[in-house]
Protein backbone atom coordinates (compact mmCIF):
# COMPACT_ATOMS: atom_id res chain seq x y z
CA UNK A 1 0.00 0.00 0.00
CA UNK A 2 1.18 3.50 -0.80
CA UNK A 3 2.11 5.63 2.20
CA UNK A 4 -0.20 8.17 3.75
CA UNK A 5 1.19 11.47 2.52
CA UNK A 6 -0.50 13.42 5.31
CA UNK A 7 0.95 11.34 8.13
CA UNK A 8 3.11 13.17 10.63
CA UNK A 9 6.21 11.79 12.31
CA UNK A 10 6.69 12.35 15.99
CA UNK A 11 9.29 14.82 17.17
CA UNK A 12 10.47 15.79 20.62
CA UNK A 13 10.93 19.40 21.60
CA UNK A 14 14.54 19.33 22.83
CA UNK A 15 14.75 23.01 23.68
CA UNK A 16 12.92 26.31 23.23
CA UNK A 17 14.99 29.46 22.71
CA UNK A 18 13.51 32.94 23.11
CA UNK A 19 14.79 35.05 20.22
CA UNK A 20 12.65 38.19 20.54
CA UNK A 21 9.44 38.96 22.46
CA UNK A 22 7.44 37.35 19.61
CA UNK A 23 9.89 34.85 18.11
CA UNK A 24 11.10 31.52 19.47
CA UNK A 25 13.38 28.84 18.07
CA UNK A 26 12.34 25.23 18.65
CA UNK A 27 14.98 22.53 18.63
CA UNK A 28 13.34 19.32 17.42
CA UNK A 29 14.48 15.72 17.32
CA UNK A 30 12.40 13.41 15.18
CA UNK A 31 11.65 9.81 16.07
CA UNK A 32 12.56 8.63 12.57
CA UNK A 33 15.46 9.80 10.42
CA UNK A 34 14.80 13.22 8.98
CA UNK A 35 16.84 15.36 6.64
CA UNK A 36 16.07 18.32 4.41
CA UNK A 37 17.65 20.56 1.82
CA UNK A 38 18.00 24.15 2.91
CA UNK A 39 15.01 26.15 1.68
CA UNK A 40 12.58 23.26 1.95
CA UNK A 41 9.85 23.56 4.56
CA UNK A 42 7.97 21.39 7.03
CA UNK A 43 4.44 21.29 8.42
CA UNK A 44 4.68 21.62 12.19
CA UNK A 45 1.75 19.85 13.85
CA UNK A 46 0.53 20.24 17.38
CA UNK A 47 -1.48 17.01 17.63
CA UNK A 48 -5.21 17.64 17.85
CA UNK A 49 -4.74 21.39 17.62
CA UNK A 50 -3.45 22.44 14.22
CA UNK A 51 -0.52 22.66 11.89
CA UNK A 52 1.32 25.39 10.05
CA UNK A 53 4.23 25.59 7.60
CA UNK A 54 7.73 26.70 8.65
CA UNK A 55 11.19 26.46 7.22
CA UNK A 56 13.95 24.85 9.25
CA UNK A 57 16.48 27.43 10.40
CA UNK A 58 19.42 25.11 11.02
CA UNK A 59 22.05 23.83 8.59
CA UNK A 60 20.97 20.95 6.36
CA UNK A 61 24.14 19.19 7.53
CA UNK A 62 22.98 19.27 11.16
CA UNK A 63 21.50 15.77 11.33
CA UNK A 64 21.03 15.05 15.04
CA UNK A 65 18.25 17.56 15.43
CA UNK A 66 16.91 20.51 13.52
CA UNK A 67 15.69 23.94 14.47
CA UNK A 68 12.78 26.03 13.32
CA UNK A 69 12.18 29.64 14.26
CA UNK A 70 8.59 30.73 14.65
CA UNK A 71 6.90 34.08 15.13
CA UNK A 72 3.69 34.22 17.15
CA UNK A 73 1.24 35.50 14.58
CA UNK A 74 -2.02 33.60 14.95
CA UNK A 75 -3.87 30.72 16.61
CA UNK A 76 -1.53 27.85 15.72
CA UNK A 77 1.67 29.80 16.34
CA UNK A 78 0.17 30.88 19.66
CA UNK A 79 -0.22 27.21 20.64
CA UNK A 80 3.28 26.41 19.37
CA UNK A 81 4.70 29.22 21.51
CA UNK A 82 3.21 27.60 24.60
CA UNK A 83 5.16 24.36 23.95
CA UNK A 84 7.78 23.34 26.51
CA UNK A 85 10.87 21.18 26.46
CA UNK A 86 10.06 17.47 26.01
CA UNK A 87 6.60 18.09 24.54
CA UNK A 88 5.77 15.85 21.59
CA UNK A 89 4.82 17.42 18.29
CA UNK A 90 4.35 16.21 14.71
CA UNK A 91 6.35 16.95 11.59
CA UNK A 92 5.42 16.47 7.94
CA UNK A 93 8.11 16.91 5.38
CA UNK A 94 10.51 17.97 4.09
CA UNK A 95 8.26 19.66 1.55
CA UNK A 96 8.89 21.72 -1.58
CA UNK A 97 12.12 22.55 -3.32
CA UNK A 98 15.14 24.01 -1.60
CA UNK A 99 17.81 26.42 -2.82
CA UNK A 100 19.64 25.04 -5.85
CA UNK A 101 23.04 25.05 -4.15
CA UNK A 102 24.77 23.57 -7.21
CA UNK A 103 23.97 26.77 -9.09
CA UNK A 104 25.41 28.82 -6.22
CA UNK A 105 28.84 27.20 -6.34
CA UNK A 106 31.84 29.51 -6.94
CA UNK A 107 29.57 32.53 -6.99
CA UNK A 108 29.16 35.55 -4.76
CA UNK A 109 26.01 35.04 -2.67
CA UNK A 110 24.12 37.98 -1.25
CA UNK A 111 21.58 37.12 1.43
CA UNK A 112 19.00 39.83 2.03
CA UNK A 113 16.79 39.29 5.05
CA UNK A 114 14.21 41.10 7.11
CA UNK A 115 12.71 40.29 10.51
CA UNK A 116 11.76 36.65 11.03
CA UNK A 117 12.55 36.11 7.32
CA UNK A 118 16.03 35.45 8.68
CA UNK A 119 14.87 31.95 9.70
CA UNK A 120 15.19 30.18 6.33
CA UNK A 121 18.15 32.42 5.50
CA UNK A 122 19.94 31.27 8.65
CA UNK A 123 19.54 27.71 7.41
CA UNK A 124 20.98 28.73 4.06
CA UNK A 125 23.80 30.75 5.64
CA UNK A 126 24.82 27.93 8.01
CA UNK A 127 24.65 25.39 5.17
CA UNK A 128 26.85 27.60 2.99
CA UNK A 129 29.30 28.22 5.83
CA UNK A 130 29.55 24.47 6.44
CA UNK A 131 31.02 24.17 2.94
CA UNK A 132 32.45 27.65 2.65
CA UNK A 133 35.18 26.68 0.19
CA UNK A 134 32.62 25.81 -2.46
CA UNK A 135 31.26 29.34 -2.70
CA UNK A 136 32.48 32.85 -3.37
CA UNK A 137 31.83 35.73 -0.97
CA UNK A 138 28.90 35.28 1.37
CA UNK A 139 27.34 38.63 2.23
CA UNK A 140 24.41 39.05 4.60
CA UNK A 141 22.35 42.22 4.70
CA UNK A 142 19.82 42.00 7.52
CA UNK A 143 17.27 44.47 8.77
CA UNK A 144 14.80 44.50 11.64
CA UNK A 145 12.35 47.08 12.99
CA UNK A 146 14.15 47.68 16.30
CA UNK A 147 17.27 46.21 17.91
CA UNK A 148 14.97 44.14 20.14
CA UNK A 149 13.43 42.50 17.03
CA UNK A 150 16.71 41.11 15.73
CA UNK A 151 16.62 37.33 15.70
CA UNK A 152 19.72 35.25 16.53
CA UNK A 153 21.27 38.41 18.01
CA UNK A 154 24.02 36.47 19.76
CA UNK A 155 25.06 34.55 16.66
CA UNK A 156 26.10 37.15 14.10
CA UNK A 157 29.63 37.48 15.54
CA UNK A 158 30.15 33.73 15.15
CA UNK A 159 28.96 33.80 11.52
CA UNK A 160 31.36 36.67 10.84
CA UNK A 161 34.19 34.63 12.27
CA UNK A 162 33.30 31.76 9.96
CA UNK A 163 33.66 34.05 6.96
CA UNK A 164 30.34 35.78 6.32
CA UNK A 165 30.35 39.53 5.67
CA UNK A 166 27.52 41.01 7.65
CA UNK A 167 25.77 44.38 7.50
CA UNK A 168 22.78 45.13 9.67
CA UNK A 169 20.20 47.87 10.01
CA UNK A 170 17.23 48.72 12.16
CA UNK A 171 14.36 50.91 10.99
CA UNK A 172 14.51 52.95 14.17
CA UNK A 173 16.15 53.03 17.59
CA UNK A 174 15.08 55.40 20.32
CA UNK A 175 18.28 55.03 22.36
CA UNK A 176 21.93 55.32 21.30
CA UNK A 177 22.61 51.62 21.93
CA UNK A 178 22.59 50.76 18.19
CA UNK A 179 25.95 51.45 16.58
CA UNK A 180 25.13 50.08 13.13
CA UNK A 181 22.91 51.43 10.34
CA UNK A 182 19.59 53.06 11.11
CA UNK A 183 17.25 52.89 8.12
CA UNK A 184 15.48 50.33 5.97
CA UNK A 185 17.46 47.29 4.91
CA UNK A 186 17.89 48.48 1.30
CA UNK A 187 19.99 51.39 2.60
CA UNK A 188 22.68 48.83 3.46
CA UNK A 189 23.43 48.52 -0.25
CA UNK A 190 25.27 51.84 0.05
CA UNK A 191 27.74 50.27 2.46
CA UNK A 192 28.84 47.22 0.51
CA UNK A 193 30.46 46.68 -2.86
CA UNK A 194 28.82 43.81 -4.69
CA UNK A 195 29.15 42.05 -8.02
CA UNK A 196 25.53 42.21 -9.24
CA UNK A 197 26.09 41.09 -12.82
CA UNK A 198 27.50 37.72 -11.72
CA UNK A 199 26.20 37.28 -8.19
CA UNK A 200 23.31 35.39 -6.70
CA UNK A 201 20.86 37.15 -4.39
CA UNK A 202 18.52 35.41 -1.97
CA UNK A 203 15.68 37.34 -0.35
CA UNK A 204 13.31 36.53 2.50
CA UNK A 205 11.33 38.83 4.73
CA UNK A 206 8.02 40.65 5.05
CA UNK A 207 6.27 41.20 1.67
CA UNK A 208 7.04 44.92 1.50
CA UNK A 209 10.72 44.32 2.26
CA UNK A 210 10.91 41.59 -0.39
CA UNK A 211 9.29 43.87 -2.94
CA UNK A 212 11.60 46.84 -2.43
CA UNK A 213 14.59 44.57 -1.82
CA UNK A 214 14.01 42.87 -5.16
CA UNK A 215 13.52 46.20 -6.97
CA UNK A 216 16.79 47.45 -5.46
CA UNK A 217 18.61 44.30 -6.59
CA UNK A 218 17.30 44.78 -10.12
CA UNK A 219 18.22 48.47 -10.03
CA UNK A 220 21.84 47.73 -9.16
CA UNK A 221 22.13 45.09 -11.85
CA UNK A 222 21.16 41.66 -10.49
CA UNK A 223 19.58 39.51 -13.16
CA UNK A 224 16.00 38.28 -12.52
CA UNK A 225 17.14 34.69 -12.93
CA UNK A 226 19.79 35.19 -10.22
CA UNK A 227 17.36 36.49 -7.60
CA UNK A 228 15.78 33.82 -5.39
CA UNK A 229 12.71 34.63 -3.35
CA UNK A 230 11.19 32.59 -0.51
CA UNK A 231 7.47 32.97 -1.12
CA UNK A 232 5.34 32.81 1.98
CA UNK A 233 1.93 31.52 0.98
CA UNK A 234 -0.87 29.74 2.80
CA UNK A 235 0.40 26.17 2.48
CA UNK A 236 -2.16 23.71 3.83
CA UNK A 237 -1.44 20.26 2.36
CA UNK A 238 2.14 21.16 1.39
CA UNK A 239 2.02 18.71 -1.52
CA UNK A 240 0.49 20.60 -4.43
CA UNK A 241 -3.05 19.33 -3.97
CA UNK A 242 -5.15 21.65 -1.85
CA UNK A 243 -4.63 24.79 -3.96
CA UNK A 244 -4.23 27.24 -1.07
CA UNK A 245 -0.74 28.43 -1.91
CA UNK A 246 -1.50 29.14 -5.59
CA UNK A 247 0.99 31.62 -6.98
CA UNK A 248 -0.18 32.14 -10.53
CA UNK A 249 0.08 28.77 -12.21
CA UNK A 250 2.42 27.44 -9.52
CA UNK A 251 1.72 25.88 -6.16
CA UNK A 252 4.26 27.53 -3.86
CA UNK A 253 4.44 24.38 -1.73
CA UNK A 254 5.42 22.06 -4.56
CA UNK A 255 7.01 24.29 -7.20
CA UNK A 256 8.61 26.50 -4.51
CA UNK A 257 8.71 27.86 -1.87
CA UNK A 258 11.98 29.17 -3.35
CA UNK A 259 11.38 30.76 -6.74
CA UNK A 260 13.64 32.52 -9.17
CA UNK A 261 12.25 36.02 -9.60
CA UNK A 262 12.33 35.52 -13.37
CA UNK A 263 9.73 32.76 -13.05
CA UNK A 264 7.18 34.74 -11.06
CA UNK A 265 7.80 38.37 -11.99
CA UNK A 266 4.79 38.56 -14.30
CA UNK A 267 2.32 37.21 -11.75
CA UNK A 268 0.22 40.13 -10.56
CA UNK A 269 -0.09 39.62 -6.82
CA UNK A 270 3.25 38.20 -5.67
CA UNK A 271 4.04 41.01 -3.22
CA UNK A 272 0.64 41.10 -1.45
Amino acid sequence: MTADIYKTMKANVEAVVDETPLIKTFVLKTEEAFSFQTGQFIQFTVPGEGEAPFTPSSSQFQKEYFETTIMKAGRVTGIIHSLKENDTVGIRGPLGKGYPLKEFESREILILGGGVGMAPLRSLLLTLLDEKDKYGRIVLLYGAKNPVDIVYSGQFAGWKKRGAEIYRSVDKCETDQWKEKIGVVTELFDEVKLNPSKGIAVVCGPPVMMKFGTFKLLEIGYKPENIYLSMEKNMSCGLGKCGHCALGKYFACKDGPVFKYSLIKDIGDIWD
Partner: protein, 324 residues
Protein backbone atom coordinates in the same frame (compact mmCIF):
# COMPACT_ATOMS: atom_id res chain seq x y z
CA UNK B 1 -18.12 -2.48 -28.85
CA UNK B 2 -20.74 -4.56 -27.00
CA UNK B 3 -24.50 -4.38 -26.90
CA UNK B 4 -26.71 -4.86 -23.84
CA UNK B 5 -30.43 -5.33 -24.38
CA UNK B 6 -32.70 -3.04 -22.33
CA UNK B 7 -34.32 -6.03 -20.64
CA UNK B 8 -30.89 -7.24 -19.45
CA UNK B 9 -29.89 -3.98 -17.74
CA UNK B 10 -31.49 -4.92 -14.43
CA UNK B 11 -29.72 -8.29 -14.36
CA UNK B 12 -26.39 -6.60 -15.07
CA UNK B 13 -27.00 -3.97 -12.38
CA UNK B 14 -27.99 -6.62 -9.86
CA UNK B 15 -24.80 -8.56 -10.55
CA UNK B 16 -22.66 -5.46 -10.16
CA UNK B 17 -24.50 -4.50 -6.98
CA UNK B 18 -23.33 -7.66 -5.20
CA UNK B 19 -19.86 -6.31 -4.52
CA UNK B 20 -20.38 -2.59 -5.01
CA UNK B 21 -22.69 0.24 -4.04
CA UNK B 22 -24.23 1.68 -7.16
CA UNK B 23 -25.19 5.32 -7.56
CA UNK B 24 -27.13 6.65 -10.53
CA UNK B 25 -28.78 9.90 -11.68
CA UNK B 26 -32.37 9.84 -10.42
CA UNK B 27 -34.80 12.06 -12.30
CA UNK B 28 -36.48 14.54 -9.94
CA UNK B 29 -40.01 15.88 -10.42
CA UNK B 30 -38.59 19.36 -11.16
CA UNK B 31 -36.67 17.97 -14.13
CA UNK B 32 -33.25 17.91 -12.44
CA UNK B 33 -31.14 14.84 -11.68
CA UNK B 34 -29.69 13.85 -8.30
CA UNK B 35 -27.40 11.00 -7.35
CA UNK B 36 -29.34 8.14 -5.78
CA UNK B 37 -28.21 4.81 -4.37
CA UNK B 38 -29.52 1.81 -6.26
CA UNK B 39 -31.51 -0.74 -4.32
CA UNK B 40 -33.28 -3.84 -5.52
CA UNK B 41 -36.69 -2.92 -6.85
CA UNK B 42 -35.61 0.54 -8.01
CA UNK B 43 -35.48 1.23 -11.73
CA UNK B 44 -32.05 2.40 -12.65
CA UNK B 45 -32.17 4.90 -15.47
CA UNK B 46 -29.15 6.47 -17.12
CA UNK B 47 -30.83 8.77 -19.63
CA UNK B 48 -30.88 12.54 -19.21
CA UNK B 49 -28.16 15.06 -18.43
CA UNK B 50 -25.77 16.03 -15.63
CA UNK B 51 -26.81 15.86 -11.99
CA UNK B 52 -27.13 18.90 -9.71
CA UNK B 53 -24.01 17.89 -7.75
CA UNK B 54 -20.85 16.78 -9.51
CA UNK B 55 -19.23 13.37 -9.61
CA UNK B 56 -16.18 14.54 -7.63
CA UNK B 57 -17.69 14.05 -4.18
CA UNK B 58 -17.66 10.29 -4.70
CA UNK B 59 -13.88 10.58 -4.90
CA UNK B 60 -13.34 13.04 -2.06
CA UNK B 61 -16.34 13.82 0.13
CA UNK B 62 -16.90 17.49 1.15
CA UNK B 63 -15.73 16.64 4.67
CA UNK B 64 -13.72 13.53 5.31
CA UNK B 65 -11.82 12.00 8.19
CA UNK B 66 -8.56 10.89 6.66
CA UNK B 67 -8.35 7.39 8.03
CA UNK B 68 -8.65 3.92 6.62
CA UNK B 69 -11.40 3.57 4.04
CA UNK B 70 -14.24 1.25 4.88
CA UNK B 71 -17.28 -0.01 3.01
CA UNK B 72 -17.79 -1.41 -0.46
CA UNK B 73 -16.28 0.31 -3.47
CA UNK B 74 -18.78 2.35 -5.46
CA UNK B 75 -19.87 2.29 -9.08
CA UNK B 76 -21.14 5.54 -10.49
CA UNK B 77 -23.54 4.50 -13.18
CA UNK B 78 -24.54 7.30 -15.53
CA UNK B 79 -21.74 9.83 -15.00
CA UNK B 80 -21.71 12.40 -17.80
CA UNK B 81 -18.86 13.38 -20.08
CA UNK B 82 -18.39 16.71 -18.31
CA UNK B 83 -17.93 15.01 -14.96
CA UNK B 84 -15.53 12.46 -16.39
CA UNK B 85 -13.42 15.27 -17.89
CA UNK B 86 -13.44 17.01 -14.52
CA UNK B 87 -12.24 13.79 -12.96
CA UNK B 88 -9.27 13.72 -15.31
CA UNK B 89 -7.97 16.92 -13.73
CA UNK B 90 -8.74 15.71 -10.20
CA UNK B 91 -6.77 12.53 -10.86
CA UNK B 92 -3.77 14.56 -12.04
CA UNK B 93 -3.88 16.61 -8.86
CA UNK B 94 -4.65 13.85 -6.34
CA UNK B 95 -2.92 10.84 -7.83
CA UNK B 96 0.17 12.34 -9.41
CA UNK B 97 3.30 12.23 -7.30
CA UNK B 98 2.80 11.94 -4.41
CA UNK B 99 -0.37 9.85 -4.51
CA UNK B 100 -3.15 10.75 -2.08
CA UNK B 101 -4.35 7.39 -0.77
CA UNK B 102 -7.64 8.85 0.40
CA UNK B 103 -8.73 9.71 -3.13
CA UNK B 104 -11.17 6.86 -3.90
CA UNK B 105 -9.56 5.48 -6.97
CA UNK B 106 -11.37 2.17 -6.43
CA UNK B 107 -14.60 3.90 -7.47
CA UNK B 108 -15.68 2.71 -10.93
CA UNK B 109 -17.12 5.09 -13.46
CA UNK B 110 -19.77 3.81 -15.86
CA UNK B 111 -20.42 6.91 -17.93
CA UNK B 112 -23.46 7.44 -20.11
CA UNK B 113 -24.01 9.73 -23.09
CA UNK B 114 -26.23 12.73 -22.43
CA UNK B 115 -29.66 12.30 -24.01
CA UNK B 116 -30.81 15.80 -23.04
CA UNK B 117 -29.15 18.94 -21.77
CA UNK B 118 -29.67 21.41 -18.99
CA UNK B 119 -30.35 25.00 -20.08
CA UNK B 120 -26.92 26.03 -18.73
CA UNK B 121 -24.92 23.25 -20.38
CA UNK B 122 -22.25 24.50 -22.80
CA UNK B 123 -19.65 21.75 -23.19
CA UNK B 124 -19.78 21.98 -26.99
CA UNK B 125 -18.93 25.69 -26.82
CA UNK B 126 -15.60 24.67 -25.27
CA UNK B 127 -15.01 22.11 -28.00
CA UNK B 128 -16.08 19.12 -25.88
CA UNK B 129 -18.76 16.52 -26.50
CA UNK B 130 -21.86 15.57 -24.46
CA UNK B 131 -20.39 12.14 -23.87
CA UNK B 132 -17.16 10.78 -22.41
CA UNK B 133 -14.40 9.90 -24.84
CA UNK B 134 -12.03 8.26 -22.35
CA UNK B 135 -11.20 7.85 -18.65
CA UNK B 136 -14.28 5.74 -17.91
CA UNK B 137 -14.38 2.08 -16.94
CA UNK B 138 -17.42 1.48 -19.11
CA UNK B 139 -19.36 3.91 -21.27
CA UNK B 140 -23.02 3.43 -22.11
CA UNK B 141 -24.44 4.88 -25.33
CA UNK B 142 -28.00 4.54 -26.53
CA UNK B 143 -29.63 2.60 -29.33
CA UNK B 144 -33.32 1.81 -29.83
CA UNK B 145 -33.35 -1.53 -28.03
CA UNK B 146 -30.53 -1.14 -25.57
CA UNK B 147 -27.05 0.16 -24.83
CA UNK B 148 -23.78 0.17 -26.70
CA UNK B 149 -20.92 -0.34 -24.32
CA UNK B 150 -17.25 0.54 -24.62
CA UNK B 151 -14.64 -0.47 -22.09
CA UNK B 152 -12.13 2.21 -21.12
CA UNK B 153 -9.46 0.04 -19.54
CA UNK B 154 -8.51 -3.18 -17.84
CA UNK B 155 -11.27 -3.13 -15.22
CA UNK B 156 -13.95 -2.39 -17.80
CA UNK B 157 -12.77 -5.19 -20.06
CA UNK B 158 -12.81 -7.61 -17.14
CA UNK B 159 -16.40 -6.68 -16.32
CA UNK B 160 -17.45 -7.28 -19.94
CA UNK B 161 -15.63 -10.61 -19.93
CA UNK B 162 -17.09 -11.76 -16.62
CA UNK B 163 -20.62 -10.96 -17.78
CA UNK B 164 -20.24 -12.08 -21.36
CA UNK B 165 -23.55 -13.98 -21.26
CA UNK B 166 -25.36 -10.63 -21.09
CA UNK B 167 -23.59 -8.95 -24.00
CA UNK B 168 -23.66 -9.30 -27.76
CA UNK B 169 -21.40 -7.73 -30.35
CA UNK B 170 -22.89 -4.41 -31.40
CA UNK B 171 -24.21 -4.35 -34.96
CA UNK B 172 -23.58 -1.60 -37.50
CA UNK B 173 -27.19 -0.49 -37.34
CA UNK B 174 -27.00 -0.20 -33.55
CA UNK B 175 -23.83 1.85 -33.92
CA UNK B 176 -25.64 4.08 -36.38
CA UNK B 177 -28.48 4.54 -33.87
CA UNK B 178 -25.89 5.52 -31.27
CA UNK B 179 -24.35 8.13 -33.58
CA UNK B 180 -27.78 9.53 -34.37
CA UNK B 181 -28.64 9.81 -30.68
CA UNK B 182 -25.35 11.59 -30.01
CA UNK B 183 -25.89 14.01 -32.89
CA UNK B 184 -29.36 14.80 -31.61
CA UNK B 185 -28.05 15.82 -28.18
CA UNK B 186 -25.24 17.78 -29.73
CA UNK B 187 -27.75 19.62 -31.88
CA UNK B 188 -29.78 20.60 -28.77
CA UNK B 189 -26.61 22.01 -27.27
CA UNK B 190 -25.67 23.84 -30.45
CA UNK B 191 -29.06 25.47 -30.62
CA UNK B 192 -29.12 26.60 -27.02
CA UNK B 193 -25.64 28.09 -27.36
CA UNK B 194 -26.08 29.42 -30.88
CA UNK B 195 -24.97 32.93 -29.97
CA UNK B 196 -21.98 31.80 -27.89
CA UNK B 197 -18.82 31.43 -29.90
CA UNK B 198 -15.76 31.03 -27.73
CA UNK B 199 -12.18 30.71 -28.86
CA UNK B 200 -10.43 29.27 -25.81
CA UNK B 201 -6.98 30.34 -26.97
CA UNK B 202 -8.06 33.96 -27.31
CA UNK B 203 -9.92 33.73 -24.00
CA UNK B 204 -6.88 32.34 -22.19
CA UNK B 205 -4.61 35.03 -23.62
CA UNK B 206 -6.98 37.84 -22.73
CA UNK B 207 -7.87 36.42 -19.31
CA UNK B 208 -4.30 37.02 -18.20
CA UNK B 209 -4.59 40.70 -18.93
CA UNK B 210 -6.04 43.23 -16.58
CA UNK B 211 -9.58 43.42 -17.83
CA UNK B 212 -12.47 45.49 -16.56
CA UNK B 213 -14.61 42.41 -16.94
CA UNK B 214 -13.31 40.93 -13.69
CA UNK B 215 -14.26 44.04 -11.78
CA UNK B 216 -17.69 44.07 -13.39
CA UNK B 217 -18.52 40.53 -12.33
CA UNK B 218 -16.84 40.85 -8.94
CA UNK B 219 -19.47 43.47 -8.13
CA UNK B 220 -22.26 40.90 -8.20
CA UNK B 221 -20.28 37.95 -6.81
CA UNK B 222 -21.11 37.37 -3.14
CA UNK B 223 -18.18 35.01 -2.40
CA UNK B 224 -20.54 32.18 -1.47
CA UNK B 225 -18.37 29.53 -3.11
CA UNK B 226 -21.33 27.80 -4.78
CA UNK B 227 -19.53 27.87 -8.15
CA UNK B 228 -16.50 26.00 -6.84
CA UNK B 229 -18.56 23.61 -4.74
CA UNK B 230 -20.60 22.40 -7.71
CA UNK B 231 -17.71 22.50 -10.19
CA UNK B 232 -16.64 18.99 -11.26
CA UNK B 233 -13.05 20.20 -11.77
CA UNK B 234 -12.48 22.35 -8.65
CA UNK B 235 -10.25 20.37 -6.30
CA UNK B 236 -9.27 22.73 -3.49
CA UNK B 237 -9.48 21.64 0.13
CA UNK B 238 -8.37 22.63 3.57
CA UNK B 239 -6.43 20.11 5.61
CA UNK B 240 -7.33 20.41 9.28
CA UNK B 241 -5.97 18.70 12.34
CA UNK B 242 -8.67 16.62 14.03
CA UNK B 243 -8.51 15.03 17.45
CA UNK B 244 -7.38 11.67 16.09
CA UNK B 245 -6.69 12.14 12.41
CA UNK B 246 -6.48 14.81 9.78
CA UNK B 247 -9.73 16.07 8.27
CA UNK B 248 -10.15 17.29 4.73
CA UNK B 249 -12.80 19.92 4.03
CA UNK B 250 -13.58 21.07 0.52
CA UNK B 251 -12.66 24.72 0.27
CA UNK B 252 -13.15 27.59 -2.15
CA UNK B 253 -10.72 30.12 -3.63
CA UNK B 254 -13.70 32.49 -3.65
CA UNK B 255 -13.77 32.77 0.15
CA UNK B 256 -12.06 35.95 1.43
CA UNK B 257 -9.74 34.14 3.85
CA UNK B 258 -8.67 31.39 1.48
CA UNK B 259 -5.18 32.74 0.68
CA UNK B 260 -4.60 34.62 3.95
CA UNK B 261 -1.35 33.81 5.74
CA UNK B 262 -0.45 34.12 9.41
CA UNK B 263 -0.04 37.78 10.28
CA UNK B 264 -2.88 38.77 7.96
CA UNK B 265 -1.25 39.29 4.55
CA UNK B 266 -3.66 38.20 1.83
CA UNK B 267 -2.93 38.41 -1.90
CA UNK B 268 -6.58 37.99 -2.78
CA UNK B 269 -8.31 39.95 -0.03
CA UNK B 270 -10.52 41.73 -2.57
CA UNK B 271 -13.19 40.12 -4.70
CA UNK B 272 -11.79 41.12 -8.10
CA UNK B 273 -8.50 39.21 -7.78
CA UNK B 274 -10.39 36.24 -6.35
CA UNK B 275 -12.84 36.18 -9.22
CA UNK B 276 -9.99 36.59 -11.70
CA UNK B 277 -7.97 33.86 -10.03
CA UNK B 278 -10.75 31.32 -10.51
CA UNK B 279 -11.06 32.10 -14.21
CA UNK B 280 -7.28 32.06 -14.72
CA UNK B 281 -6.97 28.80 -12.80
CA UNK B 282 -9.43 27.16 -15.16
CA UNK B 283 -8.30 28.52 -18.50
CA UNK B 284 -4.64 29.44 -18.03
CA UNK B 285 -2.99 27.83 -15.01
CA UNK B 286 -4.30 24.25 -15.15
CA UNK B 287 -3.84 23.97 -18.92
CA UNK B 288 -0.25 25.21 -18.40
CA UNK B 289 0.60 22.90 -15.50
CA UNK B 290 -1.70 19.87 -15.76
CA UNK B 291 -2.42 20.13 -19.49
CA UNK B 292 -6.18 19.99 -18.86
CA UNK B 293 -8.55 22.92 -18.71
CA UNK B 294 -10.36 23.39 -15.42
CA UNK B 295 -13.81 23.94 -16.97
CA UNK B 296 -15.95 21.23 -18.50
CA UNK B 297 -18.88 23.36 -19.68
CA UNK B 298 -21.39 21.67 -17.35
CA UNK B 299 -22.84 25.06 -16.41
CA UNK B 300 -23.39 24.11 -12.77
CA UNK B 301 -21.64 27.33 -11.69
CA UNK B 302 -24.30 29.26 -13.60
CA UNK B 303 -27.10 27.27 -11.98
CA UNK B 304 -25.58 27.70 -8.51
CA UNK B 305 -24.58 31.36 -8.67
CA UNK B 306 -26.32 33.54 -6.08
CA UNK B 307 -25.18 36.67 -7.93
CA UNK B 308 -26.73 35.47 -11.20
CA UNK B 309 -23.38 35.43 -12.98
CA UNK B 310 -23.48 33.56 -16.26
CA UNK B 311 -19.99 32.17 -16.75
CA UNK B 312 -20.59 31.67 -20.44
CA UNK B 313 -21.06 35.45 -20.65
CA UNK B 314 -17.93 35.98 -18.53
CA UNK B 315 -15.94 34.07 -21.15
CA UNK B 316 -17.54 36.01 -23.99
CA UNK B 317 -16.80 39.31 -22.22
CA UNK B 318 -13.18 38.28 -21.62
CA UNK B 319 -12.88 37.37 -25.28
CA UNK B 320 -14.32 40.69 -26.38
CA UNK B 321 -12.43 42.68 -23.74
CA UNK B 322 -9.67 45.14 -24.31
CA UNK B 323 -6.47 45.33 -22.35
CA UNK B 324 -6.75 48.10 -19.82
Amino acid sequence: MKFLRKENLETFVEKMNRDSDIFYPEHNTNGSYSWARYEKGKTLSITGHRTVLPLKYFFFPPAENLKEKTGKPAIIFGARGCDVRGLQLLKKIYLDDPEDIYFRKDTLVFSADCTSCHQNCFCTVLGDEPWAEDDFDLNFSFARDGFLISAGGKKGNEILKNNSDLFEEASDSQKMEMLNARSKTKEYLRKQNEDKKINLKVCAEKAGENLDVFEKYAQTCVSCGACTNVCPACFCFFLAEGKENKIRYSDSCQYPGYARVAGGANPRRKMTPRFKHRILCKFLYRPAMQEIKGCTGCGRCISGCQGKINFRDVLLDIQAGEKR
